[in-house]
């Protein structure tokens, strides 16, 4: 929590440059340093961004639910907009997870999509659940009712995150690789370093985009108020 609070104090241009640098380092590690996987070969390199983007999407949905809770619990006036922006980011990263996952599935399993895979289907359910969030939000007029309904919906969705994450461990047919076990990650060395850098880069990048989008949304809301005044 303190790390996130400190991130809010960092000026936006500094944050943008830092995420760009970290992203460049991550891409360099992915393509020039990380070794080829013994089983999957070169195609395993999709893993570094696919898994990092998936965790970033989970983090965005969790942040959206946390802000929704703050809205319902403490009636924080900024929380509704923050929750909305976090869910929006989660859906964007979710789209990227599905697209990169499909490409990886095609090269590894020979199929773009497998309906029998719990991990894939549950992530799709989570993604569609949060897509429906926008339909609900924009079907209600602007005001406290919209904020309250959106907050309750975003809060319910957070239950799907552990279900989606644990699905692969519950399922018995392990087509989808299990990279994180109870004993830690299933890899080490440069693969672990590259993954950690890619994960940090994507989280920082997501936070930067979140700050930019939130600033825009706040300005938009203020302009609407000024026009009505």
């Amino acid at each position: 929590m303190r790390v996130v609070a400190r991130l809010y104090r960092v000026p936006l241009p500094t944050l943008a440059i830092a995420s760009l640098v970290l992203m460049t380092v991550a891409l360099t590690l992915v393509f020039y340093v990380a070794p080829n996987d013994a089983n999957q070969g070169f195609s395993q390199r999709i893993f570094y961004f696919h898994v990092s983007i998936a965790f970033t999407a989970y983090a965005c949905f969790a942040a959206g639910a946390w802000k929704a809770l703050l809205h319902l619990w403490k009636r924080d006036p900024r929380a509704d907009l923050e929750s909305y922006v976090a869910v929006h980011q989660g859906v964007i990263f979710g789209t990227l997870v599905l697209l990169t996952g499909s490409i990886w599935a095609k090269i590894s399993w020979g199929h773009w999509w497998l309906w029998g895979e719990d991990e894939l289907v549950l992530f799709l359910v989570l993604f569609l659940f949060y897509c429906a969030y926008f339909m609900l939000r924009f079907s209600v007029d602007l005001g406290p009712q919209r904020a309250n309904l959106s907050a309750v919906y975003a809060l319910f969705g957070v239950v799907l995150i552990p279900v989606s994450f644990l699905a692969i461990r519950i399922a018995k047919s392990f087509v989808h690789p299990e990279v994180f076990t109870l004993h830690g990650p299933n890899f080490g060395g440069w693969i672990l370093v590259t993954y950690c850098v890619a994960q940090a880069a994507l989280l920082l990048f997501a936070h930067t985009l979140y700050r930019v989008e939130l600033a825009g949304k706040r300005l938009d809301a203020r302009l609407r108020e000024l026009r009505l005044a």
Partner: protein, 58 residues
């Protein structure tokens, strides 16, 4: 280029394109908001309404 390399390139291009579209959309929106702020700043203030009560004459 091998098949694996093509797929990996495609995956990273999808991520890059997705992020690029998102950033461009945010930039366009911020540009529009900036323009609207400028318009509001340069808008002439409304003339003060006459507060006297109107009465019929004659």
């Amino acid at each position: 280029m091998t098949t694996a390399e093509k797929y990996v390139t495609a995956a990273y291009c999808v991520v890059f394109a997705g992020v690029l579209v998102y950033v461009v959309l945010i930039a366009l929106k911020l540009q529009r908001l900036e323009r609207e702020v400028d318009e509001l700043e340069h808008r002439e203030p409304k003339p003060a309404e006459d507060e006297r009560e109107t009465v019929s004459v004659g």
